[in-house]
């Protein structure tokens, strides 16, 4: 009797670990293919340990001028977008956080509503708008569109971050003769740094992974960011050179992983946005 109870207790304790480990394995297996194949001189599509470990796949991807340009384009596009988003959303958040405005509540509802909309849905009219404005195949135009598309989420986050910056410090600065604009730059902005980094990092990571928008709006190969050029690589070489495809994928995925790790420090705060509905 005692033995049986002991046994069920043990399985009761071990079972969660077992199930979790199985799920963990299921999550890691598809990923391992990318890691192993990228190091394998004779990679194929199945997961196997490389017989001959090589860095050649990486070397060929990294030394190709086309790929270098694609990565540089990706960094420029995402970085430019992040900087623009932080500045424009930061400015917009200030009056929304500090002033009593009659239209504040409807505006914030509109922003929240816009945050939810699937941006995929508007890409056809956006393309047409770009043709009309003569912006198609424009790198800057794509950057500005991406900026606008992430503004609703960024304004929402920035306003919440700014609400937690105490007003007293600013008021003290005003009393000392600081202008509103100077107080905004010298007092509010530095105190907002965690918020600025959170919004900046998540905007960058989201932009880095965005395939659809540059795929639709940019046509010239020399302007394409890594997200689209990796797809074209897959189309032309992906079915033969698995090792290189894996190495390209690995290199392209790393910035996103590193940024999320960096951003996770602030994630709990950012996540309040979703957790706000709890209960």
């Amino acid at each position: 009797m005692n033995k049986i109870r002991f046994k069920t207790q043990m399985t009761g304790k071990a079972l969660p670990y077992l199930v979790l480990s199985l799920i963990g394995v299921a999550f890691v297996v598809p990923l391992l293919w990318m890691v192993f194949a990228s190091l394998d001189a004779n990679a194929n599509l199945a997961l196997k340990l490389p017989e001959q470990i090589t860095l050649n796949n990486f070397k060929e991807i990294v030394t190709s001028p086309d790929n270098q340009r694609a990565f540089l384009n990706g960094i420029l596009l995402s970085l430019g977008q992040s900087v623009l988003v932080v500045i424009v959303a930061g400015l917009a958040a200030y009056p929304l956080s500090r002033y009593q405005l009659r239209y504040k509540s409807p505006f914030m509802y509109l922003i929240l509503f816009a945050t939810c909309l699937p941006i995929t849905a508007v890409m056809v009219p956006v393309y047409q708008l770009f043709v009309y404005l003569n912006l198609q195949d424009s790198f800057i135009g794509t950057m500005v569109f991406l900026t606008s598309a992430s503004l609703p989420y960024a304004i929402w986050m920035m306003k919440n971050f700014m609400d937690s910056v105490p007003l007293e410090l600013e008021e003290a600065a005003w009393v000392d003769g600081c202008s509103i604009w100077k107080a905004f730059r010298v007092i509010v902005a530095p105190l907002m740094l965690p918020g600025i980094f959170t919004v900046g990092i998540f905007t960058f990571a989201g932009s880095w992974g965005n395939f659809f928008v540059p795929f639709i709006l940019i046509q010239s190969p020399e302007k394409l960011p890594a997200s689209v050029s990796i797809y074209q690589f897959f189309g032309s070489y992906g079915l033969v050179e698995y090792g290189k495809l894996a190495a390209f994928s690995f290199l392209y995925t790393m910035p996103a992983v590193l940024l999320y790790m960096l951003g996770q420090r602030y994630m709990s705060e950012g996540f309040n946005f979703h957790g706000a509905a709890k209960g």
């Binding site: 979790l20 799920i23 508007v122 047409q128 609703p152 880095w208």
Partner: protein, 307 residues
């Protein structure tokens, strides 16, 4: 009310009004860049969707020169297009199985099992699941292309237990994209449920345990009802994410074979940019957008945020 106050103390009243005007002006200046960008590139295209959907806009041929208002023609064409009905069904199947069932259930199971486990173990599993989320969609597509291909990992694994290889991407394309999306999206639900479970007071569960409630009873009668709000919010959020999903399906199956995995966004892309029927494509956008708007409004009603 305002006038009465001004009447009582004209000077103070006027002062406040002028400072309010100044605040108002400043607010407009601070908000101006955001407004311009949002109007031109966000709300503008949404309004254009409503307009273009009723035109014969096209990238080629005569219609590309002259935009004509065609009334409901696009919509009557859409609703008699068998591929549209297929894509609606595909979208629903994809949404229900990959997000509402797959990601939700797996995310909840993960969060429940991780509750009270050792910290290191919890973090390790959590990191693996999160990697799926962080991996860009296009790479998720490549990884699962390798996983499901004829000579890929899955068939090799099945081969070791003596099973015949299956052409997963041809014979079970929907199952394949559903599994890929579960792998990609589960972390979101896991995080939401971890946060929600963290808010359930331990005393309640302990009390139920002392009263002799089994683990199942505690889950169904206590834990789940207490996190009901998070379950609903999560359902809405992942539905919105899944409705707009394009890249993963596009790169993994291209909507095929045939139209077997063609969801609304992929159908829209094919009509607008492959068949060059922009008006028709925009009509599909509009349907997608309207579904998104309805779900968003449900979300905002549920959220009950105070702004």
């Amino acid at each position: 009310m305002e006038t009465a106050k001004i009447g009582e103390a004209p000077l103070a009243g006027r002062k406040r009004t002028s400072s309010q005007t100044r605040d108002h002006l400043r607010a407009v200046l601070f908000l101006l860049p955001a407004w311009v960008l949002l109007l031109v590139f966000f709300f503008g295209p949404i309004l254009l969707t409503f307009y273009f959907a009723f035109t014969n806009m096209s990238l080629t041929g005569e219609a590309s020169q002259q935009l004509e208002f065609v009334g409901m023609a696009n919509f009557s064409a859409i609703f008699s297009d068998p591929n549209f009905m297929t894509s609606i069904v595909n979208t629903l199947v994809f949404l229900v199985f990959s997000a509402l069932i797959g990601q939700q259930a797996l995310g909840l199971i993960l969060a429940l099992l991780m509750n009270n486990r050792s910290r290191t173990f919890r973090r390790m599993i959590g990191a693996l699941v999160l990697t799926g989320w962080v991996t860009p969609e296009i790479v998720v597509a490549f990884i699962f292309f390798a996983f499901f291909s004829d000579s890929g990992t899955l068939n090799t694994l099945l081969g070791t237990v003596g099973m015949e290889p299956v052409k997963w991407l041809y014979e079970y394309p929907m199952t394949s994209v559903v599994i890929a999306n579960i792998w990609h999206g589960t972390a979101f639900s896991m995080l939401v449920y971890q946060a929600a479970l963290g808010g359930v007071p331990k005393e309640v569960e302990e009390a139920a345990m002392i009263d002799g409630a089994s683990a199942w009873q505690r889950l169904w009668r206590i834990t789940l009802p207490m996190i009901k709000g998070s379950v609903v919010t999560n359902m809405v959020l992942i539905s919105l994410q899944t409705l707009g999903l394009f890249t993963l399906i596009f790169a993994l199956t291209g909507g095929g074979p045939g139209v077997q995995t063609e969801t609304l966004p992929v159908f829209m892309y094919h009509q607008a940019f492959v068949s060059f029927q922009l008006g028709y494509g925009t009509a599909i956008s509009l349907i997608l957008l309207l579904i998104g708007m309805i779900v968003s409004m449900v979300y905002i009603r549920l959220l009950k945020v105070k702004i």
